[in-house]
Amino acid sequence: VVSASESDLVLRARDGEREAFGSLVRDHQEAVFNVCYRMLGDRPAAEDMAQETFVRAFQKLSLLDVSRPFGPWIRRLAVNVVLNQLARERPLMAPFDERRSGGEAADHGPPEAQALIADRSAAILEAIRTLPPHYRAVIELRHFQELSYREISDTLRIPLSDVKSRLFRARRLLMGALGTDVR
C-alpha cells in the first residue's frame, strides 16, 4: 500500500521538484545504503553506490508506477546499480576489511553481545563478498528483500531457471564459507 504522501512526493519529484525528491532520499537512504553495503562489504563504496542509485532513480521516475511503493522499487534498482558497477570494475576479491565495515552497526545490547554480533556479522558479510556478483544479487533479493523467484527473475531479467540455480549454488557456497553443514 502506498501512502498518499509518498505517491505525491514521487509525482512532484517527477515534475522536477528537487525538495520532493530530497524527501524520498531522506526516507530511503538507509535502506538503499544497506543493500549496497551487503553486496559490497565496504562503507565508502556503498555510500557511493547509494548516491548513484538515487541519481538513477531520479532519471527513471517516469518508469515508476506511483500506485506501487517507492521503497522496494529503489532497493531493487540498487541491486542492479551495484551489479553493473561490479561488472564494470571486476574488483579483486580483497579480504574483507573490518575497518571499512565495523563500528557503525545499530546498537544491539551490551558490549560483549555487540562484539559477538560484530564478529558474526563480519563473517557473514565476508562470506557474501566472496560470492560472484550475480550470486550476491540473488541472495540479497531473496533473503533481504524477500522477493519471490518470479520477482527476482523480473528484477534481474534472467530466466526463472537461472534464479533457481543461482540461488541453489549461492546458498551452498555460503554454507560452505560459514561452516554450516553442506549437504
Binding site: E52, E104, R171, D181
Partner: protein, 233 residues
Amino acid sequence: MNGSRGAAPRLHHWAECVDAYLDGELSATDRAAFEAHLVDCSGCRESLAGLRDLQVHLASLPEQVLGRDLTGSVLAAVDTGRRSVGPAQSLADTRRTEPVTLAGGGRLALLAQAVAAVVLAVLVARDFRADPSSFAADTTSLAADVGRLPSLLDGLQEADAAAAWRVEEWASAAAVPVDMPTAMDWGSLERDLESVPAAAWAAGALFGVLAVVVANRALLAGPRRGATAGSRS
C-alpha cells in the same frame, strides 16, 4: 540424497526442491509430495536444516547506520546531471565508460588495418611453419634491405657533397656559422638490424599493429558525453 523413493512424478530433483520448499515456491501438490518424501529422506531433512541455519545467519545481520545524509550530494548530482545531460538522460549513464565511437571513415580504416594485420600474420605464420630456418634468413635479408635503403640516401648526400662544401665555403667567407649535417653511419645500423632475432621482428610487428589500433581509438574517438558529477559532499 535419497533420490526417487516416494517421488511424485513431477519432482525429479529433490535437492532443488529443498530450496523451493524453504522459499514457499512449491505448488500445494508438490509441497505435499516433498513433505511426504522428507519423512523417509534424512539427506533432504539435513539439507533443509542447513538452509534454515543459513536463513537464521543471514537474518541476524544487523542493519548498518549510514551515518550521514546523502540528500545534499544526491541533489547536487541530480542538478549537475540536469545541466550537463538533460532530464531524459541518466547521469549514471554518463559515468559509464562509453565505448569509443569511430567516425565512419575511422571504422573503415581500423577494419582495413585489422584485415591487413590478419593477412600479414597468416602469411608470416605460414612461411614460418613451412621452414623456420628460411624465415630467419628472410628476416636477415629484410634487415639488409632496410639497411640498403638509407645507403642510397647516403649516396645522394655524397653526390651533393661538393655543393655542401661550396655552401660551407660561402658561409665561412661571410662569417656565418653553419652546421652541416654529417652522413649517418647506415652500415652500422644495417649490422645492428641483421643481428635482431626473428622473434623480435615478429614482436615488433605486433607492437606496431597494436600501436596503430590504439592511436586510432585515441584520435578518432567520439566526444564523451557529460562529466562525472556528484562527488560526496
